[in-house]
């Protein structure tokens, strides 16, 4: 019996079905989850280059300006992206940012603990809440929309309540003084490469201030740690997702939890860890902000959950899970940041920003859908 031939034949025919046209290799190379956001980035840059070239948007300070804003979005977008690929999402990110900030300020300023203890405690508490989110979603089988919506309210309420209860204020300042010289705090605040920029300034390669309190300093004096964190998280997320076993499990959990479970993927663990990672990213955001501005306020992070989700979706991820890319989410955050700041450079009436944002979101998602359908042959 010659099984090999018998079986080799029919599928071969299926693969080269005369009823299906071949997809061109170029098109095949192009269709990736990130394609939509890559096009978006190009479009956005061309657009602003045309209308806001001489507004200083592309000078060193201008670049740092929109990069910092994009980096902020990117930090929470990485968490939201991995979580969304794992099939869930988190509406409590914004409230978590406010909450973590207040926890750090409370512990360090009000209760006088060393800054590093406060920061570590904030991370632990936040990740504990992330765990709780995940646990409730897994245990009750409720949609994560509902569970995390509940936490959106609970955390915001707790933040305001805690702040008022302990300090009578909803803004707690003086964090910078408390952070002075702390080893962990310097990982979140401050800048790197200051020497290098100083040197460039001294050599006249970048502009220096001519007057004012900082005359002689270069206009850009370093890379804020915020950007470093964003880059680190993007690289970490991207490698985790595409190169590791755990990344494969994230895709599998979001693609079809039941199927993944059958194949031995510990889906519950993956999902809960992703909720914790999202909380981690929110806390990174909060810590950087607290260190930079020296104060924590109970209203920080309002609506950030939507901004994170928008970045991720612009970046080509599927709201229903199982598909997406960290690089795409980062590009989505870049688009978001550039558009937002660009409109200010261009001097457009600022209330139109939201209109632009909505339109870009729609266009990006429609483009992404088209691309995804090409990849998966889904109809």
């Amino acid at each position: 019996m010659s099984e090999a031939e018998t079986k080799a034949e029919p599928p071969q025919e299926e693969a080269h079905d005369e009823r299906i046209r071949e997809i061109s290799p170029l098109r095949k190379a192009l269709i990736r989850p990130e394609l939509g956001s890559i096009c978006g980035v190009i479009l956005v840059f061309v657009f602003f280059f045309l209308i806001a070239r001489d507004s200083g948007m592309f000078s060193p300070e201008g670049v740092i300006n929109w990069t910092v804003v994009s980096a902020q979005f990117a930090i929470i977008a990485v968490g939201a992206c991995l979580l969304m690929i794992a099939g869930e999402f988190d509406l409590s990110v914004g409230s978590m940012i406010g909450f973590s900030g207040i926890v750090i300020a409370l512990l360090s300023v009000t209760y006088g603990l060393p800054m590093w203890v406060a920061i570590i405690a904030a991370f632990l508490i936040a990740m504990g809440i992330g765990w709780l989110n995940g646990f409730l979603v897994i245990r009750t089988g409720l949609p994560s929309f509902i569970v995390t919506l509940a936490f959106l309210y609970i955390l915001r309420g707790l933040t305001i309540f805690l702040a008022i209860l302990t300090t009578n204020k909803t803004i707690i300042g003086g964090v910078r003084d408390a952070a002075e010289g702390d080893w962990l705090a310097s990982l979140f605040g401050g800048k790197i490469l200051t020497g290098f920029f100083k040197w460039m300034g001294d050599n006249g390669w970048i502009q220096t201030f001519v007057a004012g309190n900082r005359a002689g300093d270069p206009v850009v004096d370093g890379i804020p740690m915020l950007i470093v964190w964003a880059v680190a998280l993007i690289i970490f997320g991207h490698v985790l997702l595409t190169r590791t076993r755990f990344g494969n499990w994230i895709f599998a959990s979001g693609g079809d939890a039941q199927a993944a479970r059958y194949s031995g993927v510990p889906v519950n663990r993956v999902k809960i860890l992703m909720f914790m990672f999202t909380a981690f990213c929110a806390t990174v955001f909060a810590t950087c902000q607290v260190m930079e501005f020296g104060s924590a306020a109970a209203d920080r992070g309002l609506l950030k959950e939507f901004e994170a989700i928008i970045s991720v979706v612009i970046g080509g991820a599927l709201l229903t899970g199982g598909y997406g890319s960290v690089i795409g989410a980062a590009l989505g955050a870049l688009i978001f940041g550039v558009v937002q700041q660009g409109l200010f450079f261009a001097g457009v009436e600022s209330s139109l920003f939201r209109v632009f944002l909505g339109v870009i979101l729609l266009l990006a998602v429609i483009l992404n859908t088209y691309i995804r359908r090409s990849i998966t042959g889904e109809r």
């Binding site: 806001a52 507004s55 200083g56 948007m57 000078s59 300070e61 201008g62 300006n65 929109w66 910092v68 804003v69 902020q72 915001r156 305001i160 008022i164 009578n168 204020k169 909803t170 803004i171 300042g173 003086g174 201030f209 007057a211 004012g212 309190n213 900082r214 005359a215 300093d217 206009v219 915020l226 902000q289 930079e292 501005f293 020296g294 104060s295 306020a297 109970a298 209203d299 920080r300 992070g301 309002l302 950030k304 937002q340 700041q341 200010f344 450079f345 261009a346 001097g347 009436e349 600022s350 209330s351 920003f353």
Partner: protein, 289 residues
């Protein structure tokens, strides 16, 4: 003794400036031995605030202290409360005339537009001809009046000078930097409260304009006081929110007990806080100032 007095504000939960009001309220309650309660619409929706006033009236308190953020919306509920025989005092937003119209006992505060106008005129005296107004609650109708007043005081069109900065400090900071970089001829910056002032201070420090550009702000806070001290900020307009909460409680309690009432409205502001005599302000900024 033990009167129930309710203070209702139009501010969202998250607005930190109102905290001083809360503290003033609590302190006054302690001092005159009254039960005080603070209420606000969680999202700052003034229509929701109207419901809260109605609710407060329904619970038959011995006095209501409320802002008059939008007379159209709030006149009805406040008048009903007055008609029920509840003494009402208007604080913060609104004008003495509007307060009289709704039948309130008195007005304590700083009319927003007038405060903006006064600030604008002061800036004009200081030789300012153009400005940037950093509005962190652009959708809120009350706070924006300050910008309009300021523009009118300067005698310029508001136009594009007011930006919608959002509430995220990093975004505020970078939007201010972006605006100033695109409009380098801007002569002054006006911020409308600590939420927009604190990041603006950072922005000016970073782009080297701190101390160079004319900078005024509404309402005080820890960072603002520091800014005034180191010369980044020329002046802060202090409407002394503490008084807006403290005095009405005292007035209402005594009105209730002894029927006494001051004959006038009280203007708690605008008081310009400048570099001189800052130490008290510094100590209590954000809590009682």
């Amino acid at each position: 003794e033990g009167e129930r007095i309710i203070l209702i504000s139009h501010a969202p939960d998250s607005d930190s400036w109102w905290n001083t009001i809360k503290n003033g309220l609590a302190l006054a309650g302690e001092h005159v031995n009254a039960d005080v309660e603070y209420r606000n619409p969680p999202t700052g929706d003034i229509a929701d605030m109207a419901r809260i006033i109605e609710q407060a009236a329904a619970s038959n308190p011995d006095g209501i202290i409320t802002t008059l953020a939008d007379p159209d919306v709030l006149n009805g509920p406040i008048q009903n409360a007055v008609a029920k025989g509840i003494p009402v005092i208007i604080i913060n937003s609104g004008t003495p005339e509007q307060a009289a119209e709704v039948g309130a006992l008195m007005y304590v505060g700083q009319p927003e537009y007038d405060a903006g106008l006064a600030a604008g005129m002061r800036a004009k005296r200081d030789g300012i001809g153009s400005f940037l107004c950093v509005n962190h609650v652009v959708s809120n109708p009350v706070v924006g009046e300050r910008c309009r007043g300021f523009a009118d005081g300067l005698g310029v069109e508001l136009g594009d000078s007011m930006i919608d900065s959002g509430q995220d400090p990093a975004e505020i900071k970078n939007r201010v930097k972006a605006y100033l970089s695109a409009n380098p001829n801007t002569e002054a910056v006006l911020t409308l409260g600590p939420t927009s002032a604190d990041p603006t201070i950072e922005a000016l420090k970073e782009n080297g304009m701190a101390g160079q550009i004319y900078f005024g702000t509404f309402d005080l806070g820890t960072e603002i006081v520091k800014g005034i001290k180191d010369g980044t900020i020329q002046w802060g307009i202090d409407q002394q929110p503490f008084l807006q909460a403290y005095l009405p409680v005292v007035v209402l309690a005594n009105y209730n007990r002894f029927g006494v009432l001051p004959g006038n409205n009280i203007n708690s502001g605008p008081g310009f806080v400048t570099k001189d005599a800052l130490s008290k302000v510094e100590e209590h900024a954000g809590e009682y100032r």
